[in-house]
Structures are given as C-alpha cells and as structure tokens.
C-alpha cells in the first residue's frame, strides 16, 4: 500500500471496487460499511486524519486524553475509525490521507481520480469501478465592512482550529452569523477558556415555530440544543437573535464590532447599532455543499431549503451520473448523524445489498429536521444593506462591493458569472468559495433563483502546472 512519500509518487493504486472521496462522517461510514460487505475500497482525504469537519480531533502528538470533550457522539466515530484501521490492516481498505482530489475522469468503464498528495504536492491517481463523493461542506460567508481584518475568522474555522490544534483566535470572541453551528462553536470556545460576550444570530428562533413536527420527531436534536443552551448559560454568554455584526473595527486586527438589530429581511435597523469590544470574531452563516468534483462530472443539483445548491440524489444515494454516488452534506446540509446514515445507505446500494429499513427511516427523519433548520436560518435579502461600497466582497481578488454594484447597475450584469467576468470576483485562489453566495446576492440572483446551479470549476483545488501537463489531452 502506498503509505510512504516515495510510493505515493509511484502513483497507481490498483483498481478498487469503490473510491471514496472524503473521510468525514459520510465517507468514513460508507467505506467501513462497504468493506464489511466485501468491497475493496480506497479512501482519499485532503486532511491528515479521518473524521472530516465534525470529528476533527487533535493530532496524536498533542496527547489529548479526552478528545471527546469537544464532540457529541464520539463513540460513533471511534468505532468506525477502529473498523477503518482493521480493514486497512486486512488489505480491504486503502486509506490515503493528505490526498486532495482535483478531478475525476471516466476512462472506459472505470473512473480515474487525480490527486495532489502531501506537502510535496506529488501527483497520485486511483482507479475505481464506482466513486462516492463525500466532500462535505464549507461555511457560507456574508461579507461585512472589516471582515478581512485579522481576527475575523470562520465560526466553523475557529471550531476546526480548536478541535485540531487546541488553539483559540483570541481571548474575547464574538460569535456571529446564523445557524445552529454558532451555539456549538460558542460552547466550545467558552469551554476552552475564551470569553464570548455574545452570540449574534441573524435569524429569529421563532422561525422554528412552524416546524413542530420535524422538531418533535428529533428529540435527540432538542436535547443537543438544550446541552448547548445550558453550556452558554453556564459561561454567561448572551444570545442576541435577529442581530448581526455589521462592521468589525481595528487597525491591524479586530478590536471591536458593531452589532445592529435586523428587520425580518435581515436589513439593519437604523439607530440600533452598538459596539462590543473583542479581539476576535467567529462568523458563519450556515454551510454550503462542496460540489466542484460532482458538478465537474455533470451531476445534477437542486436548490435546498437553506438557499444553497445540493446534489440531486435518489433513494440509493445515486447522483444523476451512473457510477457516481454521494452522501452527507454534498446532498444538503444536515449534520454528522445524517451523513453517517447516508454513507451506510450508499455502501449497501453500491454493494448491491438491500438497504436496511431502519437506515431509510432515519434518513427521512433527519432530512426533515435539516430542511426545517435550513429554512429558519436562510439569509434574508436585506443583509446586503450592511455592505459599504469599499467593503471587499471577494477576499482573494480584493473586489469591493462598489465594483460589483457598478457591474450590475451600470454594465447590466445580471448573474454571478457575468459579474465574475467583469470584476474578477470569484476568480482567485478559492474559486468563489468565500464570495460566491454574496456575489450572487448582489447580482440579484438570491431571490429569483435560489440555489442556482454553481459554476462548473475546472479543478477543485489549485494544481501544480506540471501535473496538468502530464494529463492526457482528452482528460483535461
């Protein structure tokens, strides 16, 4: 098995029955279940350890005696990780950490996955009969003046850095944005020693009021929320709903934020602004499915309740492209339990074994909950009211809101794609992952075509030019 760097450079990893991209809850559960059903599985993951975003945990060298202190349901992960190692030892699973898959191409009846491997950025390729895309999600960011200042970080990002590296961005951290992740993040930051003066949530939790059935069918989720609520009370964290951070202040780093009350469309209400001193801001407005590999293959998408685009999947987790499957947040944001359930469903389906009814029921219940949650936290159109013309919207190419507004109002750009061509917003390193939702909203796409199919991206991560040059022309 290719575990040493020199073997990685040697590049070919036989032919697997199934290649899984992503070792988060979905990919890990799928790989372990599929190997248990007799498939030869290769798992590729950009990260260093299995677990994905939810089960991200400190490196062994950090000697954490209680990694579970930062997680719910740690046992669900621990048992699967143990199974992964056992299958690996038995030669049924090949696990390739630090492999960032940048494209998947079909050649004859099988798939070839091309990856950039390790810090040395060597090229690697894996061949497989079937592919499961379990690439999860990243955070949805809505820009505000000052959001590029050091000390403003993603809420999930702060959580990821805390879980993986046992570090905090600051001592006094305002948590802001929208969605249930904020409560988890605030709870972890506070438990790890940060002071959290406020959780600033743009939605009003009364958005859940019409969703009683979905909530009642998920008592576990209510208990989880109560745990977070309890932790916040214990740490004296204030929860401000229907409020937003509308500006971050500071010279070289954040020193304070302005928080304002919002109307029901998320428009800041004049005269309600107040300042909260802090040395970091953890901000996020929900998550966005990470789809570039799937859309690059032509997999169909559909709008989800939270306003994002998600893969269209059938009852057996099949995408619209035969041979390509998907599980977890690529099919819509829904949490780790749902991701594991879907990973297992996919494993049964790929192995050609009937899917246990309990899994199907669990998926239906958790998906209903996710939809209720997504609708409650979906951004209102009025958030663009807190952008100033000089606020950078695209962090990579440093394109300010005024420039995008000009492209829309004076040059007639009516969609994010045209804005991108005119302004370069979304053309930089991150390929629009950070500014995409904001640019779409400024281009007027948000309300007219929610969750519009994302642009196809040629590569899912930057790739050394020498690797591109090595690809046969038909594949690139």
């Amino acid at each position: 098995m290719p575990t040493s760097p020199s073997d990685r450079e040697a590049d070919l990893v036989g032919l697997a029955d199934l290649a899984v991209v992503g070792a988060g809850p979905a990919g890990l559960a799928a790989a372990v279940a599929a190997a248990g059903l007799g498939l030869r599985v290769t798992v590729l993951d950009a990260g260093e350890r299995p677990g994905g975003q939810y089960y991200r945990h400190p490196a062994p060298g950090l000697g954490a005696a209680r990694p579970e202190a930062l997680h719910h349901d740690w046992a669900d992960f621990a048992s699967r990780e143990a199974a992964l190692r056992a299958h690996e030892a038995a030669g049924r699973i090949t696990y390739l950490p630090f492999h960032h898959v940048w494209t998947v191409v079909q050649d004859r009846q099988r798939w070839t996955l091309h990856a950039v491997a390790g810090p040395e950025e060597s090229a690697a390729a894996v061949h497989a009969e079937a592919v499961l895309i379990a690439t999860g999600a990243y955070e949805r960011q809505l820009p505000f003046p000052g959001w590029t200042l050091p000390g403003v970080v993603g809420a999930g990002g702060a959580q990821a850095m805390l879980k993986g590296g046992l570090v905090l961005p600051g001592r006094r951290v305002v948590v802001a944005g929208s969605g249930p992740l904020l409560l988890a993040v605030a709870g972890s930051l506070a438990a790890a020693g940060a002071r959290v003066p406020a959780v600033v949530e743009a939605a009003s939790y009364s958005g859940y009021a019409g969703q009683a059935p979905a909530l009642l069918r998920n008592p576990g989720k209510i208990a989880e929320a109560a745990t977070y609520g309890g932790a916040l009370l214990r740490h004296h964290v204030r929860l401000l709903t229907r409020h937003a951070v509308t500006e971050a202040h500071g010279a070289d780093r954040v020193e304070a934020v302005t928080v304002a009350r919002l109307d029901r469309d998320w428009r800041p209400l004049p005269g309600t602004a107040r300042r909260i001193p802090c040395d970091a801001v953890a901000v996020g407005h929900g998550l966005v499915p990470q789809l570039e590999l799937a859309t690059g293959l032509g997999c169909a998408t559909a709008p989800a309740a939270d306003g994002t685009a998600a893969l269209e999947l059938d009852a057996r987790q099949r995408t619209s492209v035969p041979g390509i499957w998907s599980a977890g947040e690529t099919g819509g944001i829904g949490g780790a339990q749902l991701a594991m359930t879907e990973g297992e469903i996919a494993a049964f389906a790929i192995a050609g074994v009937p899917v246990p009814a309990a899994l199907v029921r669990r998926r239906a219940r958790l998906r209903a909950f996710a939809a209720a949650m997504g609708a409650a936290h979906r951004p209102g159109d009025g958030w663009t009211g807190w952008l100033r013309d000089d606020t950078d919207v695209c962090r990579c190419e440093e394109v300010p809101a005024g420039c995008i507004r000009e492209a829309v109002e004076d040059l007639g750009a009516g969609d994010a794609r045209t804005v991108k061509l005119l302004t370069r917003a979304g053309m930089g390193w991150c390929q629009g992952r950070m500014c995409g939702p904001a640019v779409a909203a400024l281009a007027g796409e948000a309300s007219s075509s929610p969750g519009a199919a994302p642009d196809r991206r040629p590569l899912s991560c930057p790739v050394p030019l020498r690797h591109l040059a090595e690809l046969p022309a038909t594949e690139a």
């Binding site: 950090l62 993603g154 440093e398 930057p462």
Partner: protein
C-alpha cells in the same frame, strides 16, 4: 493561558499532554510549537493572526476558514510558497516565512 481567570484552556479541556514541544522558526523568531499542530495553530498559539499580505493592497491576512477552502492562510514553508498553513503540519526544523503578494504563480486555479 495561566492569565485566564478560570484557568480554562483548550489543552486543559481535552487533557492534552503533548509528546514534545519544540521551537518553530517564523520570520526570524522562535515560536513554541507542539508536535502535531498545523503551522496555523502554532502561529495562533503565539498570538499571531496574520502571516501573508495581499497582492493588490498589501493587507495582512491569516487563517480564515480553518479547513483549506479559502487560501487566505498561504505561507512560505522551507522556501516553498503558497502552502496552506491550516493544513500543513509544522515540523521541527521547519522555517516559515511571511508570504508577500503571490509568492510564486506556478499553480493553476
């Protein structure tokens, strides 16, 4: 961490007992690092939030998304530019330097 009034810290929370600590060289300074931390984690531990300047305005940036998606945390590691500090584990003997502008433009995006 000891100045924390309630004596809470990420390490205390998980009962962390690092195998080894060492010094990581960053822009001519030695920063304390723990085996297994990413480069971004070592920098955050030292209270450093910015280690890159942007191409257009030279604005300071550091880790933003924390998971390898935003490319804001690019840094030069042992002379190799454009490394994502949030993904790359720090190793004893590494030299890390601030990345100004593009670093090197040989990656396709």
């Amino acid at each position: 961490m000891s100045q924390n009034p309630r004596n809470r810290s990420p390490r205390a929370l998980v009962g962390g007992d690092p195998e080894a600590t060492y010094m990581l060289r960053f822009d001519g300074r030695d920063l304390p690092a723990q085996t297994g931390q990413s480069i971004a984690a070592v920098l955050w531990s030292a209270g450093i939030l910015a280690w890159r300047t942007t191409r257009e305005t030279g604005a300071p940036r550091g880790a933003f998304c924390g998971i390898g998606s935003c490319y804001d945390c690019l840094v030069i590691v042992n002379g190799r530019p454009n490394q994502r500090a949030c993904l790359v584990p720090a190793r004893p003997g590494d030299t890390v330097t601030t990345q100004e502008g593009t670093g090197r433009a040989d990656l396709a995006v």
